[in-house]
Structures are given as structure tokens and as C-alpha cells.
């Protein structure tokens, strides 16, 4: 990696969260609207007003607490009823914890990406945008014409699988593994 330059102040994730927030207004999903609006606010604050605030995330994440917490979460979420108050409580508690663990030290000038890395980032971003546009398109068309049988979203397709115990447990394991990877990689 080259060792020059720095990142723009506002992350492109702000744009992504703001767009998701706008879509929730169209969907009429108040809960998701609050979540994405809060997420957009956290992202903006993290690189502007709270830019110099630090949290010892790396110290905590590199210890074994995350592994043990992940194991407890796996048992708690894989075998309890979905859409329950118990799950709601766990996720409400989890939100500030994962934000704190991802916060870390204040942003410093970072090494710039090489041309090869930039190309890879562009290709994967294009892939993710294509997936989001297809999902957004299905959601919008489903609401305007035909319903979700004619234009199913990913949620509508995946939800019946999660109604089965094996599907729910499998989702929880994959979802926790992804979160574990993000936190551990971010702490390195």
C-alpha cells in the first residue's frame, strides 16, 4: 500500500445509509426508518463533531470477551422464538456495544489504496449497488403493482426458511460469524 494522502471527511456509507433511510419512508417502516436515520447520524458525527473522540475498541476486541459473548448470543438467538421481546431486548443492548467496539481510535491519515485495490473496491461496490438496486426495485414495484408474490424481496424469499429451526440457527451462526470477522478484522 502507498503511504500518502488521507480519506475524505464524510464516508460514502453516509450516502448509503441516507438512501436506505429514504427508502424506509416509502416502505412506511417506522422502525427501520429510525434505525437508518440514527445510523446516518452516528456516521456523520463519527467523522465530524466526534472525530477526535476515542474508544479502546481494539483492546476489548482482541481479548477473548468477543468469542464468549458470541457463543452466548448464538445460544440465545438460535433457539428462541423470533420476533420476541427477548430478541428485541438483546438487539437493543447489542447496538451501542457494537458501535463502541467499531468506533476505535480517532481517524488518522491512512495509506491510500493501490490501483489494484481501487479496481477491486470499484468492482465489489458495483456488485453491491446492483444487488441493492434489484432489491429496491422489487420492493418499489411490489408496492406499486402485483404485491410481493410478483416482485419478491430478499426478505420475503428468506423469511420462510428462517421459520424453520434449522434455518434460524444457520442464519444466526452465519450472521454472528460475519460480525465476529468484521470486529476482529477492524481491530487489527
Amino acid at each position: 500500500m502507498e503511504q500518502k494522502g488521507s480519506r475524505p471527511t464524510l464516508s460514502l456509507w453516509v450516502v448509503a445509509f441516507a438512501l436506505c433511510s429514504a427508502l424506509q419512508v416509502f416502505r412506511g417502516s417506522v422502525g427501520d426508518e429510525i434505525i437508518f436515520f440514527t445510523g446516518t447520524t452516528v456516521l456523520v458525527l463519527s467523522t465530524t463533531l466526534l472525530r477526535n473522540n476515542e474508544f479502546p475498541s481494539r483492546f476489548i476486541v482482541t481479548e477473548r470477551h468477543v468469542e464468549w459473548s458470541g457463543l452466548v448470543l448464538m445460544i440465545a438467538l438460535a433457539f428462541t422464538a423470533r420476533h420476541s421481546l427477548f430478541d428485541l431486548g438483546i438487539f437493543v443492548l447489542l447496538a451501542p456495544i457494537v458501535i463502541a467496539l467499531a468506533w476505535g481510535s480517532k481517524p488518522k491519515p491512512k495509506p491510500m489504496l493501490t490501483k489494484r485495490d481501487r479496481t477491486t473496491r470499484f468492482v465489489w461496490s458495483a456488485w453491491a449497488i446492483a444487488m441493492c438496486l434489484w432489491e429496491f426495485g422489487a420492493n418499489i414495484l411490489g408496492q406499486l403493482f402485483g404485491g410481493d408474490k410478483a416482485f419478491p424481496t430478499i426478505s420475503v424469499l428468506v423469511d420462510p426458511l428462517l421459520d424453520q429451526q434449522v434455518g434460524q440457527a444457520g442464519f444466526v451462526v452465519v450472521w454472528l460469524a460475519l460480525g465476529f470477522y468484521l470486529l476482529k478484522s477492524g481491530a487489527k
Binding site: F91, A102, L141, G147, D148, F151, L162, K188
Partner: protein
């Protein structure tokens, strides 16, 4: 072809492209593209990316385990 099959087909095509892309770059020996894992490790150094990815990850769990999927 009905719209249901077309919509599901679209998801499968995009997923397949993602799998092929991951598969051909996984050894990190290509001239033009690096592997996804190396790229993520680098991008996760940035606070904005880290927070964005972790919050989106949290929302995925919330969406499938807590929210009730609205059907219309």
C-alpha cells in the same frame, strides 16, 4: 416468464457473479484484482467503513430476527 421468476432469477444471477468474482480472486494472484479478504482488512481501518459495515450487519440481524416482514 412471469415477474416472480424474473425477480428471483435476477437475485441468483447477481449472487452467481459475486461467487465467481470471489472464486477467481481468492488466491490474490491476479494482475488487476486483489482478494476480497485483503481489501476488507484494509478498508476496515477506516472508522466510517467499520461503523457502516457493523451497523448494517446489526440491522441484518434485527431485520430477520426481530422485525416482522411486512407482506403486501
Amino acid at each position: 416468464m412471469n415477474t416472480h421468476a424474473l425477480t428471483v432469477g435476477g437475485y441468483l444471477v447477481i449472487l452467481a457473479i459475486g461467487f465467481v468474482l470471489w472464486f477467481i480472486t481468492r488466491k490474490n494472484d491476479g494482475k488487476h484484482l486483489t482478494d476480497l479478504s485483503s481489501l476488507l482488512k484494509h478498508l476496515l481501518q477506516f472508522r466510517g467503513t467499520r461503523l457502516g459495515m457493523v451497523m448494517f450487519w446489526w440491522w441484518l440481524g434485527w431485520h430477520f430476527l426481530v422485525s416482522v416482514i411486512n407482506r403486501h
